[in-house]
């Protein structure tokens, strides 16, 4: 295990976070808020610590998958720790557990909040809270790869550990350029959305906040009622962008390259849209009776579907009050989530597609026991290794899921609450049903349960295994051995 390289990467991550913290500082400057000084102090503090950590360049900069996973997991934990400090020091969220929950929820683009009241927060706190979504959406290590010159190909392991999806590839030969292209697309789409929102007469501050929270498919609202009070135009713009940020970013790269034909025939994206249309259709039909008119029903249905399928978690209506059918459909699409290679969470459409194809193949083999059939995705054969890892992923997901529901049950809340709270955190969505419904928040959970949910969010964002690796004794083996060796060196 190359621990000095991990230390170096963690140092770089802290420095980047410090740089990002200047954005709330700037906000504070504009609105003349004292909280800005706290952000500045935390930024300087983390830049300083980061500088110390990355002062000495490691001798060997090769590292393998395990180092990539450990570095990624630790980066996210350390980033959340430092990111929560301003909330504590400004007094916005005095409890450490709560501040940590809010920050992890931000970075993992979950958007589950423990704050009952958002509008009273200072502007810079709101800005930082929303901006954590943007940082976490594409991933801070991808950002690191885009700006820091690193030699060698082993850094693909960092990207692999952080990017969602069963198989992570590159767009162009150099990982640095791939990371840059991803961030440029990301930034471009965020700015486009902000402009469209401003055109729709949303105040600039709110437009920026909404755009960054949508881009990361986060879902921290800036109003207590999330999105309900905005005009239909603003709701539709946000609906469309929520869906777009849930699409595999490779598609946008193909569009940039003007390979339209290829871009529109990505299998995963096709299933993603089919799912969205189906869910919206069912829910609209269900809402038509109770709604004032059909357009309102369509607006509400599509907004909620887009929000939950892309794992954003905005709400323009209290869908917890809807009929059982609607709530079930919404919960099902929450399981599936967005496309691989997007900023969205969930199990991912491509995993489901492969799983369903495996089931069909299994049925086929009952009819023709000796038949040979390979599963294909995007017109290409899916390697056995990929199918295997998807199966294991499913299994692990449901074990963690069950464990989390079990642990939450000690708080004594009802099953739907525990079930959807777990679902909403592990799939990085935000709101669930019943007590954690769109108009509620997570503050009533005990501290222990909050830590369970924090774990869920991190595990979900990093796709389970990088985080679980931290709990494997083999990961830490080297550190102990090195210690003992240096002790024996001293003795001899």
């Amino acid at each position: 295990m190359n621990f000095s390289m991990i230390r170096y990467i963690l140092g770089c991550v802290l420095k980047i976070e410090a740089a990002f913290m200047l954005i709330p500082c700037l906000t504070a400057l504009i609105y003349r808020e004292k909280d800005g000084f706290i952000y500045l102090a935390v930024a300087i503090g983390s830049a300083f610590i980061g500088q110390i950590m990355s002062l000495r360049k490691p001798k060997h900069n090769v590292f393998y998958l395990k180092e990539g996973c450990v570095a990624t997991s630790l980066s996210w934990i350390i980033m959340s720790l430092f990111g929560s400090l301003p909330f504590i020091f400004t007094g916005a969220i005095p409890s450490f557990t709560d501040a940590m929950f809010e920050t992890v929820s931000g970075f993992t683009t979950t958007g589950a909040s423990i704050l009952p009241e958002v509008e009273s927060l200072s502007h810079c706190n709101i800005m930082w809270r929303s901006f954590t979504h943007w940082i976490g959406g594409m991933g801070v290590l991808v950002f690191l790869l885009a700006i820091i010159p690193m030699s060698g190909g082993s850094h693909i392991n960092l990207m692999r550990a952080e990017s969602p999806g069963p198989s992570v590839g590159k767009l162009v030969p150099k990982i640095k350029h791939t990371a840059r292209i991803l961030y440029l697309i990301y930034l471009g789409m965020t700015i486009l959305q902000a402009i469209l929102l401003i055109i729709g007469k949303m105040p600039v501050f709110e437009a920026i906040n909404t755009a960054v929270a949508t881009a990361g498919t986060g879902g921290f609202g800036i109003k207590n009622d999330s999105f309900a009070s905005y005009s239909p135009y603003l709701q539709w713009v946000t609906t469309i962008f929520m869906i777009l940020f849930g699409v595999n970013f490779n598609v946008y790269y193909l569009i940039l390259l003007r390979k339209f034909k290829k871009a529109f025939f990505v299998e995963e994206v096709r299933y993603y849209f089919i799912m969205i249309f189906a869910a919206t259709g069912i829910i609209t039909l269900n809402l038509i009776e109770t709604s004032t008119n059909a357009f309102k029903a369509l607006t509400d249905a599509s907004f909620q579907v887009a929000s939950l399928v892309s794992s954003t978690g905005f709400a323009s209506a209290d869908f917890d009050q809807w009929s059982g059918t609607c709530r079930t459909v919404l919960m099902l699409i929450m399981f599936v989530g967005a496309c691989a290679g997007s900023t969205g969470g969930g199990i991912k459409v491509s995993r489901f597609v492969v799983m369903i194809k495996t089931v069909i193949k299994e049925l086929h083999s009952y009819i023709h026991p000796k038949s040979v059939k390979k599963i294909k995705l995007e017109g290409k054969e899916v390697e056995h290794e990929v199918v295997r890892s998807i199966n294991v992923y499913f299994m692990t997901f449901f074990i963690l899921f069950a464990l989390s529901v079990f642990l939450l049950s000690f708080d004594g809340h009802d099953l739907v609450t525990n079930f959807t709270a777990t679902l909403a955190t592990i799939n990085n969505i935000g709101p669930g049903l019943e007590l954690v419904g769109p108009t509620q928040n997570f503050s009533f959970f005990s501290d222990f349960s909050k830590y369970v949910l924090i774990f869920n969010m991190l595990a979900g964002r990093l796709e389970l295994f990088p985080l679980l690796l931290l709990f494997h004794p083999g990961t830490w083996k080297g550190i102990l051995r090195r210690r003992t060796r240096s002790i024996t060196d001293k003795h001899s």
Binding site: N157, V172, I175
Partner: protein, 463 residues
């Protein structure tokens, strides 16, 4: 749009088909020079391991298929290299690639059937280069056998100048001699370009004092080299006979060349059928059917008396064992071929004498081509060699036009440190330059340097 415009050197987009030994070496070496590389192979697990190791894009598929090439981005490719196992596939890959884009295509062709028609194939298929690692290795082995004192011989200026590496033995005249004194005492026409002592490589200045066990590289014409070796008391005749273990393609090419030069060749090959083939192809050679790793057979065939011994089996470990054995039982000249294994430090410590690495021979030629393709100014890379484990580069430039460095006496140029101008080839005559000489347009100039990545003659100037 996303490239680095601040970098003065343009990057090449390179596609490599085939991720075998040569493919992997090319990925490593060309990647080090900052090019954007895409590698294509049918085997997904090979692609996986290469993309984990190097910063390149991998595409799984058949490199001769149009759609796979499109996926790899053939339209914007500058250089296309096909190095799969099969000659025919390589040629097909290049043909398809040439139809889609106007890239330069390089194919590896190994079979002797085609290698005799290289010129024809190249012209008709519009290829930039056809590489044949087996033939190139054979040529390198032959060059060393012509001058068995040397550890390594690289040729420049179409064979007119050679860069020769040898080790100073104990008690030689060269010991404790400063480099500046060599010209006075021994010969004017050699120039020592690089020396290795205790694992460190130096580009020596005139007051560098040589010691025993130094490995030195010097440049000169072949005639002067012989005279120089005579003067320092080495024997200079080429070997009279050689024993080759293994009857592969390289062995065939080598035997063919040596026989033409009048050297007796004995090949020991395990496979009966191959022996028969070889005896048809090489009527003058002695072909022995037997196990080349059998000690008794080697003794019987005269390993004690043979003047040179070249193990060319497909297994590196066997080659190394044979070399160690030969060095123990006789003082014959031994050349070891190492294909796969990469434990360079171990190999260096074994003191094998001359070692050749076919995969580096191939990649050097391609890197030289790739660098030459990058620059558009008034010079071109003719030849490139990596010396001393790639720590030193010897590059031959063709100076086409007048520029900042031409027509100025060399002593007035501000050159980079650790750099030496070894010779100037003007209309076929080799000049070992002194401070008063100048470079002129039309010359080819050879540079030896510890800097890497030069692709233009102007790179020698201090920025």
């Amino acid at each position: 749009m996303f490239g680095e415009s601040q970098n003065k050197k343009e990057k090449l987009n390179i596609i490599i088909v085939g991720s075998g030994r040569v493919g992997a070496t090319l990925v490593e070496q060309l990647g080090k020079e900052g090019n954007d590389i895409t590698i294509i192979d049918k085997d997904a697990s090979k692609i996986q391991s290469i993309t984990n190791l190097y910063d390149v894009m991998g595409v799984v598929g058949n490199g001769a298929s149009y759609s796979v090439l499109m996926e790899a981005g053939i339209e914007n490719t500058d250089l296309f290299i096909a190095v799969t196992e099969s000659d025919e596939l390589n040629l097909l890959c290049c043909t398809v690639a040439k139809r889609v884009s106007d890239c330069s295509a390089i194919a590896r062709v190994r079979t002797p059937d085609y290698s005799k028609e290289v010129g024809y194939l190249r012209e008709k298929l519009g290829l930039a280069m056809i590489i044949n690692p087996a033939l190139e290795s054979a040529k390198e082995v032959a060059r060393i056998l012509y001058m068995p004192t040397a550890l390594e011989v690289n040729s420049f200026a179409h064979g007119q100048a050679e860069l020769i590496k040898f080790k100073i033995p104990k008690g030689n005249v060269l010991c404790d001699l400063a480099i500046a004194e060599i010209a006075k005492k021994l010969s004017h026409n050699v120039l020592i370009c690089a020396t290795e002592r205790d694992g460190e490589v130096y580009i020596p200045s005139g007051n560098f004092v040589l010691k025993e066990d130094d490995i030195i590289s010097f440049v000169s014409t072949r005639k002067s080299a012989k005279r120089f070796f005579d003067a320092i008391g080495f024997k200079t005749n080429h070997v009279r006979d050689t024993m080759i273990i293994g009857g592969g393609t390289t062995s065939y090419y080598l035997a063919d060349q040596l026989i033409h030069a009048g050297i007796d060749v004995k090949i020991i090959e395990r496979d009966r059928e191959r022996c028969e083939e070889l005896s048809v192809l090489l009527p003058k050679a002695i072909i022995i059917n037997g196990d080349g790793t059998d000690e008794e057979l080697l003794k019987e065939e005269g390993i004690h008396t043979v003047e040179s011994f070249v193990p060319l089996t497909g297994i590196d470990e066997e080659n190394i064992m044979l070399t160690l054995f030969a060095r123990q039982v006789s003082n014959t000249k031994v050349i070891t071929k190492i294909n796969h294994i990469t434990f360079k430090d171990v190999i260096n410590n074994l003191d094998l004498g001359s070692v050749i690495y076919p995969r580096y021979i191939t990649s050097e030629a391609i890197i030289a081509y790739a660098r030459a393709k990058k620059d558009s100014l008034g010079s071109n890379i003719e030849t490139l060699y990596h010396l001393f484990d790639s720590r030193v580069e010897a590059i031959e430039f063709l100076v086409r036009n007048d520029s900042e460095i031409t027509n100025i006496p060399l002593m007035n140029l501000s050159l980079k440190k650790n750099l030496l101008i070894s010779f100037i080839n003007r209309n076929g005559s080799i000049i070992i330059p002194s401070g008063q000489d100048c470079i002129k347009a039309g010359d080819t100039v050879m540079i030896v340097t510890t800097h890497t990545g030069f692709d233009d003659i102007l790179d020698i100037l201090e920025q």
